[in-house]
Symmetry: C2
Subunit: 473 residues, 2 copies
Amino acid sequence: MNPPIVRALRAIVGDAGLVVDETRRIPYECDGLAFERQKPRLVLLPGNTEEALGCMRILHEEGIPIVARGAGTGLTGGATPVEGGVVVGTARMRRVLEINVQDRYARAEAGLVNLDLSRACADDGLMYAPDPSSQMACTIGGNVANNSGGPHCFKYGNTSRHVLGLKIVTPEGELLDLSRPETDPEGLDLVGLFVGSEGMFGLATEVTVRLLPAPENVETVLAIFPDLDDACDAVSEIIAERWDPSALEILDRLTIQAVEASIYAAGYPAEADAVLLIEIEGSRAECDANYNGISAVLDRHRVIEARRAQTEQERKKLWAGRKGAYGAMGRIAPDLYVSDVVVPRTKLRELVRKSTEICSEYGLKLTNVFHAGDGNLHPNLSYDRRDSDELKRVLAAGDEIMEAVIAAGGTLSGEHGVGLEKRDQMPMYFSQPDLDIMLAVRAAWDQQQRMNPGKLLPIRACNEHMPFKGLNR
Amino acid sequence: MNPPIVRALRAIVGDAGLVVDETRRIPYECDGLAFERQKPRLVLLPGNTEEALGCMRILHEEGIPIVARGAGTGLTGGATPVEGGVVVGTARMRRVLEINVQDRYARAEAGLVNLDLSRACADDGLMYAPDPSSQMACTIGGNVANNSGGPHCFKYGNTSRHVLGLKIVTPEGELLDLSRPETDPEGLDLVGLFVGSEGMFGLATEVTVRLLPAPENVETVLAIFPDLDDACDAVSEIIAERWDPSALEILDRLTIQAVEASIYAAGYPAEADAVLLIEIEGSRAECDANYNGISAVLDRHRVIEARRAQTEQERKKLWAGRKGAYGAMGRIAPDLYVSDVVVPRTKLRELVRKSTEICSEYGLKLTNVFHAGDGNLHPNLSYDRRDSDELKRVLAAGDEIMEAVIAAGGTLSGEHGVGLEKRDQMPMYFSQPDLDIMLAVRAAWDQQQRMNPGKLLPIRACNEHMPFKGLNR
């Protein structure tokens, strides 16, 4: 990148805020979507909103494309600079700015790690509800970009239900201070619109979120089933009977085997075809009522065993298998393609079966770890990206699974966003008028379409179809 | 309006869908903001989405301004056709289209009355949470336009948290079918953006909403206080102590007097300076725990009496005063200017006092009925619109109250929208860059700005400041 520009940027962010060296730029060439890579021309790590404003102004003057990046834990290629340009990361903006106990909100810099926010308010008996599986690494800003979910979002809702305000640096380098904690939007809901916009409207530097009272008691039950169908049916019935669990997570047989062979071994019996992890929260009375009601449902669905944790340590042990599942899959193959779709709960069985069939046709290993409560399936395809034929089969299988999901009344994505991965599948779900409005709304924020170009929308303004040689399609 | 156009429209909606006669158009010249009136050139009442599409196409070809209208219960002039044009009402679209018990959602036409939706799913043990005080008349579509609230939105959140999908007719007469029940938005959140857009993006003809399980038990307690401050402090402490009421409503002395003098008389003692209406929901155990905890708080705040309803009939009686309050105010003066602002809960006392001072300076009668739980104040100024001097004082006092609210960290509107009433106050709250993005987003939906012109945004595109002789300003 030409030296005067680099000098001008260095003058704003200092050496610590600039990654110029080519090898040091390698980590920024992709996110969790491992097979799409593109090295950014430069990486900027502003230390605060002021520095971000300065950088964005210069990049605007120079007409340079910008890709915002949190921790890079995204799974759809949202943080991959496919069209080059500059990556602006939030790694140096991770301060908690305010915890307001009385009015129950927090203000934090966008680079704050999700789990650190809940830690910061734990002593006040409060919590931040959205808990992506990557919460030990992912950032609040990244969660905003993707409207991220997590196991407990079944009860509490995804990120969009918890963001009360934002400080946004526009593509032109102007500041929108919408950071006041508004439980209901004023005027047009710019904050709500920004959540889930995948870095295409600007750079969020501060996030104001709702905090919730931490539950009095949290109980965890691990139910082991001889058949995945039984686990799925139990989930539907628990909800139909109006019991009120805070999380309902299912792991399938292949996942269990990977977990049992790993350091996360949780002692699941060999005959287990599926395990269902159930969390219950509330007063003692509520927990007991829910536990008893849910146990009765489990019994009706041939549960082999239901383990109720008696101590916090036992609770953590029951969760260990779930939290370690993705790590454990490294034993199956070096790479993992994690899909993310939502289907009506009543169709969980059918779609898990269908995905399994599709993958076996392609000779691929499929594992299922999913948020059963809200019908959020994660078909995980293990592969080795050095095997280009296997990669082709993974992508073809992924497409077929998506077609089956949408045919069953499901949706394109549940909590990971669209990014690159599903960009060209958007027309499977949205009509041209839908997409045209999205394009126009994007242009309202970013006339030049410099923010995260090539993501989310399959076409540019004026319906020019985008060249896309990625994903081997 | 020129006959060929009227003929073309009649051919689509039939005689029942057309209001041409001048006297029959009078009811459409304003909504609940009584002092701004303008007769529409024509009123259209399409019977379904198809008819709405046909009408919108013709109006687009003719470049005629359009104002959407539900029941006309809005309080900010949002449905008043200030710039003339055609009113498109939803009065003939009030069918419930689907109640899905298993996946807990409903699809309804936009003209369905709010309360009728909850009635339609009551037998399935479900409910639609947002409950505006006008719920016996206001429509789901109107609720979407204004992101309406209600007493129970303290617990459940305003309309935007419950809308899962929409069928939208664009200003050009194109259909956006976003009516699938999505618990989390796909791509850019067009549905979330449309909620609260006050009829400026198009006409919603179908609404898909989340249904919630109706609570096992509902308890109502009426607490009578010798001093409004005590009532406000009790509310703050109930929440600080983490009790979980579903509604916290306060009525002040003047309101109590009006209620007691009316057919809604609830037998409030003469020494009552404020009453606090508390609702509790949940299992028997939860209700008892909350009742006991909340009672202890009330005692600490000098409550004169706390009445706990023992029967459904008693419950209704306790609510009667609250629900009848606005009707009762008709005894104070013929017209009522209902303001709507939100302040931090901890500042309720201060702002109620301040509003009272301001109104007494202007020699105006102020009543306060408010959603104390979420700090949503409703300063109600009684007046007679035939007295132009009194009207001037009402508007001046309204402005001063707004300035005080914003100075205290409050917001412009809580649940009634911006409409005409607060349009010119938007710059008190939003910066020019904020407003510019809102304008651009509006243009993304409605390039010609034909939908509800003159509302919400104080400026048109290209920063042309709008002529606004209304509100005597």
